[in-house]
């Protein structure tokens, strides 16, 4: 199939439909609105007029998603940081009842209302739960639109396999920019679900009730399986690297430019790019230790103010056997400038920028 230039938010919406999405409820917010807007005409075109709902608010949207998914729909909602804060209660309830669904977060920068700048300030929220209680969503962190399409296409297969929520960790610039992508064909769920509410009472939700150990063990077994089976990362120029950048999304793209520029002047740098951030790719760091145990330090480049992923980088590096400094360049809002990252790298070499861990 020919490639087509699409906006990230539109490509995510079309890929969701191709992956079997048959219910959407959401409330508009920049910079995620194009997803909702596109689905508002695309779903009726595909005969799903009643299955697209612009809800009265965010809380209603997540509750509709929970209801639809409980009845067997491949349901999705999309928003940006502040809108998803409102959905936190629903996300926690969905996790408790083992309801699979997909959430697209087109992140802004900042706390509270934040601003429209691109951001990755929601790392903690998305990766460490977000709502109350103990749970995780599987969190994909694509760095180009094709990867977002591929991730979205897989999202419900994975969500239903483990019966968890899946979060797409997008960001304003990734949602707003256009790239050429190849869309996969429409697919349907391979096997009927053996759980769900269908009005006959024959299936039921099939999750452990109560607060006993059977519930805890069910949860632990589920999340441990995900941790083992969903390790995904990519290496760039790591074999001989002294310093390893760690970044996801668009900062990772900026780091590719940084690596090319620094390598051209003989600096040995590489990158470990997590493709999924929960579960964090601990295995990637172990593999890196086998390939190159001589790494002198890690540099986490993030689009937030204080550094968030750097905590996981430090833990993963330690677990893999690296006893080296872990630095962080949180660039604030907006895609980090290549020359700014290079300047921070120089600050590290000069001992000006101290390690965080």
């Amino acid at each position: 199939m020919a490639k087509e230039l699409l906006k990230g938010n539109v490509a995510a919406a079309e890929a969701a439909l191709r992956g079997g999405c048959d219910f959407f409820a959401g409330y508009p917010i920049t910079p995620s609105t194009e997803t909702l807007e596109y689905l508002s005409h695309r779903m009726p075109e595909l005969g799903m007029k009643e299955r697209f709902i612009q809800s009265e608010n965010e809380i209603a949207a997540i509750n509709m998603v929970m209801g639809a998914a409980s009845a067997g729909a491949r349901a999705m909602t999309a928003s940006s940081g502040p809108g998803i804060s409102l959905k936190a209660e629903g996300m926690s309830y969905a996790a408790h009842y083992s309801i699979p669904f997909v959430l697209l977060n087109v992140q802004r920068w900042g706390t509270g209302l934040g601003s429209l700048k691109s951001g990755q300030a929601d790392y903690f929220r998305e990766c460490k739960g977000g709502g109350h209680g103990d749970y995780h969503n599987i969190v994909y962190a694509p760095f180009n639109i094709q990867e977002m399409v591929d991730d979205m296409y897989e999202a419900w297969d994975v969500a239903e396999k483990y019966r968890v929520g899946v979060t797409m960790f997008s960001e304003a610039v990734l949602g707003q920019m256009m790239e050429a992508v190849e869309m996969p064909p429409f697919k349907k769920r391979e096997k009927e679900l053996d759980w769900g509410v269908d009005g006959t009472g024959t299936k039921g939700m099939k999750y452990p009730t109560g607060d006993g150990w059977d519930y805890v063990e069910f949860e632990l077994e589920k999340y441990n399986r995900i941790i083992d089976e969903m390790q995904r990362w990519e290496f760039y120029n790591v074999e001989d690297a002294d310093y390893i950048f760690t970044a996801v999304g668009l900062p990772a793209r900026a780091c590719l430019d940084v690596i090319a520029k620094l390598r051209a002047r003989g600096e040995k740098v590489g990158m470990l790019r997590p493709k999924i951030i929960w579960p964090f790719p601990f295995l990637g760091f172990e593999e890196l230790h086998r390939v190159n145990p001589h790494v002198k330090g890690f540099i986490s480049v993030e689009m937030n103010d204080m550094g968030q992923m750097v905590d996981d980088v430090a833990l993963a590096a330690k677990k893999a056997g690296f006893n080296v400094p872990v630095y962080c360049y949180p660039c604030g809002g907006g895609v980090p400038q290549v020359k700014a990252i290079i300047a921070k790298y120089q600050d590290i070499l000069d001992g000006v920028l101290k390690e965080k861990y």
Binding site: K3, L5, T30, P31, L116, A172, V173, Q176, M177, M178, E179, A180, L250, R253, A254, C255, L256, D257, A260, G334, V335, Q337, V338, K339
Partner: protein
């Protein structure tokens, strides 16, 4: 890799102009990223887009943001602020109707002034000022052949349901080609 900034007021068609570059590059199988300014912009407010494309197939694009542009297209005077994100020896294409001739540029910058209003009027397509400018940029910088650019533009407008204006748009783009020939 080529990096181009197309900037002006909202309503001057700078996003569309950049999009045509992206479509043309993509049609040729080149990796392309088009990034618009987004958020609460309005007609008459500031607007811009950044286009990056690989110069040979397989050349991937890293950051989509303004970094070190090869070409700045300024449809108004405030757009020249983006020189901050350009190479020292970049090419600047200026809307002669909106930027005074006395404007002072940094040393090393190659300036081409195009009177897009007059040229667009000559072909009776006053809304095609962005296309006149685009034609001049594509021709002078040798980004694509005239045929490649015209075909990609027509295909793009057809897909958007605006194919009816293709001949007027091609005429505007050709005015731009001629202006720098």
């Amino acid at each position: 890799m080529k990096e181009i900034i197309f900037a002006g007021f909202g309503g001057q068609g700078v996003l569309t102009g950049g999009l045509i570059i992206a479509y043309t590059a993509s049609n040729l199988g080149l990796e392309t990223v088009w990034l618009p300014s987004y958020g609460p912009t309005m007609r008459g407010g500031k607007a811009n887009c950044t286009v990056k494309f690989g110069e040979k197939p397989g050349e991937a694009i890293g950051s989509p943001s303004m970094e070190e542009a090869d070409i700045l297209i300024a449809m108004n005077e405030p757009s020249l602020d983006y020189l901050e994100f350009c190479k020292k020896d970049c090419a600047v294409f200026v809307n002669a109707n909106a930027v005074p001739e006395s404007h002072v540029y940094p040393e090393g910058v190659d300036v081409t002034r195009i009177d897009v209003v007059e040229l667009a009027n000559e072909v009776g397509n006053v809304k095609g000022q962005n296309l006149v400018m685009l034609g001049a940029v594509i021709k002078k910088m040798g980004l694509f052949s005239e045929k490649e650019a015209e075909e990609a533009m027509c295909k793009m407008f057809e897909e958007k349901g605006k194919g009816a204006f293709n001949s007027a748009n091609v005429a505007a783009m050709r005015k731009g080609f001629e202006a720098v020939s």
